[in-house]
Structures are given as structure tokens and as C-alpha cells.
Amino acid sequence: MQDDVLLAVNNLTVRFDVSAPALKRLITRSPRRFVHAVEDVSFTVPRRSVFALVGESGCGKSTLARAVVGVERPTSGHVSLAGRRVSGFTTRAAERTWRSDVQMIFQDPQSSLNPRWRVGRSVAEPLRTHRMVAGRAEAVERVGALLEAVGLSSEDARRFPHQFSGGQRQRIAIARALSTRPALVVCDEPTSALDVSVQAQILNLMRRLQREFGLTYLLITHNFAVVAHMADHVGVMYLGRLVEQGPADVLLADPKHPYTRLLLDTVPDPARRGRAREPMKGEAPSPINPPVGCAFQQRCPLATARCAHERPVLRSAGRTAVACHAFEERRLPPWRTSIQPDLQSAEGSR
């Protein structure tokens, strides 16, 4: 399984030019400005596994997802899927094969489905685009089967999106994503807009479909409870960079980056009632002028002078990798032991 890598992201960097117009720059002598959305990110996702990218808004996780599906062009680095590089296809056919191999599910199914189209048409659209069905009858049949696979009925194809609840609309979006039989499904906050009861239904559905269709998920989320439930591997992003990554069970049981620890500490938890959450101070700095040194230094309780001028690089730390000077210098206090997630025991059942 280790060798069977489906998605490989190599030194991916995505920057957006937000400079003023050239003439104004010349007059005011202001330099060009770039949003450093994703900086030098590398990771691999084995086939049939779930890789979760976690971080706060503005950390670049959605840009990374867009680069993976080919909507955003990398400034440098590259993404490859099953050994083939994304971008720079020589033929339309090659591009089309790749496109049908990657599909995406978005946070808000309301805005990802055309309100004027019947659901059947939306679900069938990728099939027509990729010429995967011969005629109308076959399309109707495939759409019906897809809707049934996500727990709706084939008659629902004739209805409009507004006739469904939020959870049902997300099921429709999933059916459409599965229509081209993709290998990789990129899920950008798939349950953030849903109630917990509906979230449980969608997460269970995603897991069942993963088994049935042999799917690989790249899951973008800020919800650690969802990560703990779904992910095999986790990457934590802060201001465009991966600050920690590794197998979910190891990383969640013993997080080594101060940011990961603070994030885990701020997760509201109904089981730990009355606990005073230690709120993380401050906010993330602007990705336009990222600070020199470690991006997390202003909010970090362990920051030193070294953190202010030298950026830590992602280094192996046992089974995980972490980018932190405090960890390297062995200044990191031990992680709380009393409430360690008991993930290892359940790992065998998967």
C-alpha cells in the first residue's frame, strides 16, 4: 500500500500577484506584492486513504485543493496523479482522462448546483462532458443508479435543488462527483454548513462510498472531530505552509507543533464540559507580507529570538514531520496525557 501513491504534491507553491498597476507602482515606488497562498508544500496520498488538510481560514488549504484539481496554476512545483503530472497535457484526451479522475465536493451544495436545472441534468453533466454515456437512456439509468448509491431515489432526478434539504443537496453533489468514477475526490469542507445530525449522515455516506468505489479523499476541513473520525493522514497548514504532518493516530495523540496543540486545545468538546479553553491569542498574520522566520512566532508561547529570524523547516520527528525550532531544541513540554485520543485501538477495525 505504501508504494501505491495516488496523489503526489511536490514543492507546490501558489502565489497571487496583487500588485498595484505598473504605472502607479512606478510613481509611488512601491514594490510588487504577492499573496503567498501556498508555499513549498509536499505530501503524498496513498490510494484508498483519506488525507486531511487542517487549518484556519486563509491558511491556503482551499488554494491547495484548487491546485490539485487543476483550477489553480502552480507558481512552481507540481501535482501528479497516479504518476501523471497535472498540467502541461499534450493532448485533449489525456487532459480529459485526468479530469474525470479527479472530482470535487464543495462546502455549500446550494451554490454548487444550478438552481434552474433538474437534479438529473446536474448529475449527468460530467457524464456528457466526458462522453461516458452513449445516449439519453443510458444517462438516465446511470443517474438513477448514482442517486440510489447516495441514498436518494431515482425519481429525485426530476426534481429541482430547492426541493431538497441541505444534507440531501450535499448527497446530490456527491452523486455528481462520483458520476465519472473518479479515483480522487477532493472534499472542501463538505460538512461545515450542515447540522451535526446531518453531518453524521454525510460522513457515514462518504465512508461507505469510499469502500464501494475504492475512493481516495483529500479532505479539507477545520474541524478536528471530523479529522479524527475520517483521516488516515493529516497535514496541518499555517499561512501557506505545512507545519506538521503524519499519520492521524500518531499526530492527534502526540501533536508536536505548538500550533497543532493550540488548535486541538480550542476544539469545543461536549464531553469536557466547563473546561476553560485556553484561547489562542492573536490572529494569523497577512499572507501578503509573511513574517520572516516562523510564521507562528507572534502567537506561539515557546517563541525565541531564533524563531523570529530563522524559518524552521519540516523535519522528521518519529512517524510525523514537524517544522518547529522548539521541538528541535527539545524545549517542547510533554503533551497532555490525560485526554489522549484513543485512536490506536480502533485503527485495527478499519
Binding site: E56, S57, S165, G166, G167, Q168, D195, V196, S197, V198, Q199, A200, Q201, L203, N204, R207, R208, H222, N223, F224, A225, V226, A228, H229, L252, L262, L263, T266, V267, P268, D269, P270, A271, R272, R273, G274, R275, A276, R277, E278, P279, M280, E283, I339, Q340, P341, D342, L343, A346, E347, S349, R350
Partner: protein
């Protein structure tokens, strides 16, 4: 001492005619002085509408068809818009999900604060400004004096929500209605705002009705919890008991469907189906089509709130699901 908020038999309908569907149906609850009441439920359960009804902000065709709303013993439903306006902002503060909709993008935050203060309190410009600056520093806005001149767009989402909290608490209200105040924020910022809300409530002795769908937020700061389902109370009680040993099967299902970070399961327990639409409420208990314990009685008769330990639950068979045997029907 009368409760800060007392809602009695609140009924909100969609339209004014006799057979108009009920969106909120005979809802009653109190919020004690200095208490934080968490109100939870799925979207469409009527929790935001309850807040709007209390604030007198129901938009037609929504219509308050019955019930009594009292704040500190004074009846406020049926007041004229002018009278209501002096209640809102003065004795009832409000915090909404999106701070950008509560703040005027064209006015500086200092202007918005001083305007609110001077509308409701007899103060001159200088002392209103002083009070505004003090409020900003209390809610943790750094360099408050400089920020008085800032426009909302110049602030981050978390800072904006702090300003909205300052506005809500500006005139020392006795009741604050907070509708999903943390939903639009990142988790790290969310923790800051929840902590701030709790601190402001404690320090200023205000009562808070906290509307949210996030059980984690409720667990962290609510004293009591009310669970809404289909416009009715499913369960209400002290947060400690209700979250630990929920009596209503709906609350039990909600709590079970939250992924647990400490224990990984293959499939999450889920409540099948979805909440009935407005006007499509089933007979008997509104939850019976989704309830694994439903019996003939649940399908025919609507349960009222009955005491179960320290909680009240609207269920014919409240209590521990593991101790329940489907064959054994109710005794009464």
C-alpha cells in the same frame, strides 16, 4: 426576582390566517438573572425565530399568533415599533452570526458605539466616547482609542465580532440574545469570542440566550440548555445533566452523532431522515418518524414536557436508551 426573560406559550405562524402553519408552537421557557441559556436544534427548528420574536423583529409573513414575552417582569410583545426600539439596544442587546450585517460599513466603529450609547443613555459626547473606548478595551480590541476611527472593513472577522459584542453590552442590557455568534469564525477565534461572551455576562450580570447548533459551544458556556425540535421544546434542563444524560431520544441522537476525538468508530450513530417541513408535522410526537423507540402512542398523542430528573422532556418514554425495551410500553 423575576426572570430576565420569560416566554410563555409563544406561537409563531407563517401567515395570519386561521389555518396558517405553526413555525413555533406553544413554546415556554425562562432565562434566570445572570444565566446563560443555550438553545440548540437543527436548522429549521425555530431557534433563530424565537430570538427574532423576542426582539420584535419577525418579518411578515411570519406572525406572532400567541403567547407572552416578558423581560424583567415587563411585557414586551405587542409593543409599538417605537417602544420596542428603546428596548432593543437599551435593555436587550443582540449579537448575530455575521458581524458585517450588524455593523454599518459606512460609519466608523466609534461613531456606531457612541450613537448607540447616546440614543439610550443620557450622556454627552465626551462621556459617551469615554464609555465606548472603555467598552472596546473590555472586549479586547487592542489600541481602542485608535480603533474608534476604524471602519468595519478594516477589522478582521474576530475583531468585528468583538465590536458587535461591545455594541450589545454598550448600555448594560439585562438580556443579550446571541444568535450563532461564533459560527462564521475560525475555531481559535471562536474560543476567544465564547470566552469573552461568558466573561461579559458574568461581569455585567446580564442574562444571555445563546442560540447555536454547536453542542461544543453550549457545553462550554451554557448554564441551562433548551433543545428545540420542529418549533417545540424537546427537552430543557441544566447543562450538566442534559449533556451527560439526555432524556429525549432526539437529544441522545444529537449527542451521539458528534464524532468523538477520543474514540474512533467505524460508522457514526445517526438519526435517520430529516426534520419535518413547516406545515408537514406528523401526528403525535413530531419526532416519532425518526425515533427508534416510537410506539403507537407516540404516533397518536403529542407528549407534553414532563419532569425527568432535573430536566423536562417532551417524550412518552424519556430516559436511558439502553434500559429501554421496545415491548414494554408506557405505564401511564
Amino acid at each position: 426576582m423575576s426572570p430576565a426573560l420569560s416566554v410563555n406559550g409563544l406561537t409563531v405562524t407563517l401567515g395570519r390566517h386561521q389555518a396558517a402553519p405553526k413555525v413555533i408552537d406553544d413554546l415556554s421557557f425562562d432565562v434566570g438573572p445572570g444565566e446563560i441559556l443555550g438553545m440548540v436544534g437543527e436548522s429549521g427548528a425555530g431557534k433563530s425565530l424565537t430570538g427574532q420574536a423576542i426582539l420584535g423583529l419577525l418579518d411578515p409573513p411570519l406572525h406572532m399568533a400567541g403567547g407572552r414575552i416578558e423581560v424583567a417582569g415587563e411585557r414586551i410583545d405587542g409593543l409599538s415599533e417605537t417602544a420596542m426600539r428603546s428596548w432593543r439596544g437599551r435593555r436587550i442587546g443582540a449579537v448575530f452570526q455575521d458581524p458585517m450585517t450588524s455593523l454599518n460599513p459606512l460609519l466608523t466603529i466609534g461613531r456606531q458605539l457612541t450613537e448607540t450609547i447616546r440614543t439610550h443613555l443620557p450622556m454627552n459626547a465626551a462621556s459617551a466616547r469615554e464609555r465606548a473606548i472603555r467598552l472596546l478595551s473590555e472586549v479586547g480590541v487592542p489600541a481602542p482609542e485608535e480603533r474608534m476611527g476604524a471602519y468595519p472593513h478594516m477589522l478582521s472577522g474576530g475583531m468585528r465580532q468583538r465590536v458587535v459584542l461591545a455594541l450589545a453590552f454598550a448600555c448594560d442590557p439585562m438580556l443579550v440574545i446571541a444568535d450563532e455568534p461564533t459560527t462564521a469564525l475560525d475555531v481559535s477565534i471562536q474560543a476567544q469570542i465564547v470566552g469573552l461572551l461568558r466573561r461579559m455576562c458574568r461581569e455585567r450580570g446580564a442574562s444571555v440566550m445563546l442560540i447555536t447548533h454547536d453542542m461544543g459551544v453550549i457545553a462550554e458556556c451554557a448554564d441551562r440548555v433548551a433543545v428545540l425540535y420542529g418549533g417545540r421544546l424537546a427537552e430543557i434542563g441544566p447543562a450538566d445533566t442534559l449533556l451527560r444524560e439526555p432524556a429525549h431520544p432526539y437529544t441522545q441522537g444529537l449527542m451521539a452523532s458528534i464524532p468523538d476525538m477520543r474514540r474512533r468508530v467505524d460508522m457514526l450513530p445517526q438519526i435517520p431522515g430529516s426534520m419535518p417541513r413547516v406545515g408537514g408535522a406528523p401526528s403525535g410526537c413530531a419526532f416519532h418518524p425518526r425515533c427508534s423507540r416510537a410506539t403507537a402512542r407516540c404516533r397518536a398523542e403529542r407528549p407534553d414536557l414532563v419532569g425527568h430528573g432535573s430536566c423536562l422532556a417532551a417524550c412518552w418514554m424519556p430516559g436511558d436508551p439502553s434500559g429501554f425495551r421496545p415491548e414494554a410500553t408506557h405505564a401511564g
